[in-house]
């Protein structure tokens, strides 16, 4: 078919989803308390890939998934327990599936040896587990045997073949695997005769058969099917196992059947017979009525019951119809509702288009603030109308901006979901027992950030697993649980996304870090506070692992980690305590483009302070100002605040501002709080961040620049790097005073 490609494309995406789902579920799988619903989901995923790949002729996948499916089917039927090794092998198989999928997708060479290895490994595992769990017969066989206790040997050979997973012959096998349950003769009596033979020969209620064929031929069609199910299935399985022999024995009867079989489908009943049978008989409803009650009832009883119910049937039909009418009405509504909710609601858009949209919105925000400025000069008669319209415009602009931004936001779980596998593989390799706990996966983060944060996170997690968590024996010695925990969490705090990697391992070792730093000629910070020492591990060429492992590499990473994060406008903080654990905290700006700011004036210059940093703005009283070592401090909220005079540090003003004449904006940065001295507050405004580095160079205290409504350029302050203007000694003294 010409348009087959289009479906194959859909299948690729679908298979990718199934593969991801399998991986996630397998990773989360609890060996001790298997969740049947989860097993069902994993099974369905394998099953769907198998079905789809077969349909689309991607046979390399079909074979592997077939074996997986067998294992998973046994597991979900509780005839086989998944153990850790089996999960590992299944995960490896999932990797192989990924490779095959990619190969098909990008028309690459398919690695058949790899597939064969994976397949035989799975088969070997299945065999091992089956034997270990004292299950001599493969589970499929067991199920089969329950239904067909008297099947002949040739049939069981066929079944065994299938369950041992002869995946290569699988396609061919399935082509044959069907049969007819009813004789194909158009002669009804002959058809029943066939069933009768089955009944008597297989020992199913011999009494039932004659009465059936004598009295209830037509209306009992479906009914016959029901009760003779086991017998006919035997017949069918015999047919499958020994198609040729059967054909010889039954001659003409099975010839047509064979025809059908080569077509790859079968009917349980000849359709036209069924139709004619029902059409001819007014009481056909009776037969369905019995479908339900049959299971529990003995054949003979059912026959008698059928006899009496046939006469009751019309009554029953009457009762039924009004009921079904009312439900139909309800269902219509329900169907409509579910349709609305169920339809696919997402589309794929190129990221460049979205980025372009974000830029345009940025321009719109600037235009809007221009208009707002002009609005102030409008003449009286128009002023009120103009102002209303401008307020409206401002609101709409903000909403557009939020909407456009939200397009670019993705849940951070898209990155986090890669890590369970990483941690599992690493801990196996290192013989450690580690549990990865993920929190806040739903936290949304700008798509551009997601791509860039992935590598640093990978590195930090490797680090925690390799260097942080101790070996189980060491942990027990220290009185900790032998299983270590690495927690990966994300949350939104104000305008920032905070990502944390916590481990409950040994913590950072001060002496080792210092020793290493000296060995590697890393300049030691002064003074040597804890956080300053931890910061050393971000220095280039630093690794504290006793020996270099292939997990964490050669210590080329940590400085890159910090560089990457800082290039995103974020920062990393380390907290560590010996034998309690280490916590890496990454703070990232929520979005990269637009921020809510407070415009402040210092002399002739306008600066923008991010709103998220601002605690409050005050006009200090003379009695709030203290002087220590000739530096002014502010006493507010039962606390001493160091002060940064914007005019002096950034605007080249000669004289320090007169504090009692100025306004102090109290600001909270990541590591400390301080006051910013300004001449005035101009108002709150959204600004579009333009990079200063790209056009000029990095300046301490400045995060970027923006264009104001009147076309002038204003600098955006960076609270964190403003703290650099406060002398370290001053910081400590304020702490001292507070204490």
């Amino acid at each position: 078919m010409d348009d087959m490609n289009q479906f194959t494309e859909i299948f690729f995406e679908e298979a990718q989803e199934h593969i991801d789902a399998m991986e996630t579920l397998l990773l989360a799988f609890n060996i001790d308390e298997p969740d049947i619903e989860e097993l069902n989901s994993i099974f369905r995923a394998a099953h769907s890939i198998k079905g789809g790949s077969g349909t689309f002729g991607l046979h390399a996948m079909t074979g592997v998934t077939h074996v997986m499916e067998n294992i998973l089917d046994s597991a979900r039927n509780e005839t086989l327990r998944l153990d850790d090794t089996l999960i590992t092998v299944l995960l490896e198989t999932v990797d192989v599936l990924k490779n095959i999928l990619d190969a098909y997708r990008f028309n690459a060479e398919i690695d058949y040896p790899e597939i064969d290895t994976a397949k035989s490994k799975l088969e070997a595992e299945l065999k091992r587990v089956t034997e270990a769990q004292g299950n001599a017969t493969p589970p499929n066989d067991t199920a089969q045997a329950l239904i067909n206790p008297y099947q002949n040997t040739s049939a069981s050979v066929a079944v065994t073949n299938e369950s041992t997973g002869e995946a290569t012959s699988d396609g061919a096998k399935e082509e044959e695997a069907f049969g007819f349950f009813e004789q194909n003769s158009t002669d009804d009596d002959a058809g029943f005769g066939f069933f009768d033979d089955e009944f008597t020969s297989e020992g199913v209620s011999a009494d039932a058969a004659p009465s059936l064929s004598d009295e209830f031929q037509e209306e009992c069609y479906g009914f016959f099917d029901e009760i003779s199910e086991d017998a006919t299935t035997n017949e069918a399985s015999n047919n499958e196992g020994t198609v040729k022999e059967e054909t010889n024995q039954d001659g003409p009867l099975l010839t047509e059947e064979l025809d059908e079989e080569s077509k790859g489908y079968g009917f349980f009943e000849k359709p036209e017979e069924r139709l004619s049978g029902f059409q001819a008989d007014s009481s056909d409803h009776a037969s369905y009525g019995f479908f339900n009650s049959l299971d529990e009832t003995d054949t003979n009883e059912t026959l008698q019951e059928l006899n009496s119910t046939v006469s009751k049937t019309p009554k029953r039909g009457e009762q039924r119809s009004p009921e079904s009418k009312t439900t139909v009405g309800k269902r219509v509504e329900k169907a409509k509702a579910s349709k609305g909710a169920g339809e696919a609601t997402s589309i794929r858009v190129e990221t460049t288009k979205v980025d372009n949209l974000v830029n345009l919105v940025g321009e719109l925000v600037i235009t809007q603030s221009m208009l707002k400025l002009i609005g102030n000069d409008v003449q009286d008669s128009l002023l009120e109308k103009m102002q209303t319209a401008l307020v409206e415009l401002e609101r709409n602009t903000r909403e557009i901006q939020e909407a456009v931004m939200s397009v670019r936001m993705l849940p951070i779980s898209t990155v986090f979901n890669r890590f369970p596998r990483l941690v599992r593989d690493l801990s196996k390799k290192l013989d450690k027992q580690i549990e990865l706990v993920i929190e806040g996966g739903a936290t949304e983060i700008d798509k551009n950030l997601i791509e860039k944060i992935s590598d640093p996170l990978t590195h930090l997690i490797r680090n925690s697993v390799d260097h942080g968590i101790e070996l189980p024996s060491d942990r027990e010695e220290k009185g900790k649980a032998s299983k270590g925990t690495v927690t990966l969490s994300a949350s939104q705090k104000g305008g920032e996304i905070v990502i944390e990697i916590r481990d409950d391992g040994g913590g950072l070792n001060k002496e080792k870090i210092l020793q290493k730093a000296v060995e590697n000629n890393v300049t030691l910070p002064d003074p040597l506070t804890d956080s300053a020492i931890w910061g050393l591990i971000f220095a280039a060429g630093f690794s504290t692992a006793a020996e270099v492992t292939d997990v964490s590499g050669r210590g080329v990473g940590m400085d890159v980690v910090r560089k990457n994060i800082e290039s995103l406008g974020g920062r990393v903080d380390i907290y560590s305590k010996e034998n309690v654990g280490t916590r890496f905290q990454i703070s990232l700006p929520l979005t990269l483009a637009i921020l809510d700011g407070m415009c402040v004036r210092s002399g002739e210059q306008v600066f923008v302070l991010p709103l998220t940093n601002i605690i409050e703005s005050i006009q200090p009283d003379a009695n709030q100002i203290r002087v220590m070592k000739n530096k002014p401090l502010l006493w507010v909220r039962e606390e001493y605040w160091p002060l940064v005079d914007l005019g002096q540090v950034l605007a080249d003003e000669e004289n320090a501002k007169d504090l009692s004449e100025s306004i102090v904006v109290l600001v909270e940065a990541a590591s400390n709080r301080f006051g910013v001295i300004v001449d005035g507050l101009l108002g709150q405004q959204q600004v579009v961040i333009k990079s200063l580095e790209r056009h000029y160079k990095r300046v301490q205290g400045i995060a970027g620049a923006t264009i104001m409504g009147d076309g002038s350029v204003a600098l955006i302050l960076d609270a964190d790097s403003l703290t650099g203007f406060i002398a370290q000694s001053e910081m400590e003294e304020t702490n001292y005073v507070v204490n």
Binding site: D3, F11, E14, T55, N148, E174, F178, T233, G264, F291
Partner: protein
């Protein structure tokens, strides 16, 4: 002519392929993503043929068939199970549930049309 067919499969690719194949055969086709959705559709529309996958979330194919057979409108409608499991156990279950027949996946589009032509009239 213009027969109304219902295709039930949780896999969008298979579903769309079957749908396109059957449309190509001149049938009207509606699709459902699982047994529950299919059952809802069947309660409001009478289809002339239902082709259903077996393994699906929410409601599997056999349960769907059992439920349909219990509805007066569907006692005679051909119901075919589409399954990768061509095992006897599966067939026995299909038969017990009241399916008209089964078809193994993977299948050839032509074969599908053949089967449908056989049962839909």
């Amino acid at each position: 002519m213009n027969k109304n067919l219902l295709v039930v499969d949780d896999s969008p690719s298979v579903r769309q392929m079957v749908e396109a194949t059957l449309r190509g055969g001149g049938y009207q086709v509606k699709t459902a993503k699982d047994g529950r959705e299919a059952l809802d559709f069947c309660r409001t529309t009478k289809f002339d043929f239902v082709l259903t996958d077996q393994n699906m979330p929410n409601m599997d194919g056999l349960t769907l068939i059992r439920s349909l057979r219990a509805m007066s409108a569907y006692t005679r409608v051909p119901l075919i199970v589409l399954t990768t499991e061509a095992s006897d156990a599966m067939k026995a279950k299909g038969k017990a549930a009241g399916a008209t027949g089964w078809m193994v996946k993977p299948f050839d589009p032509q074969k599908l049309l053949e089967v449908v032509a056989k049962v839909v009239r």
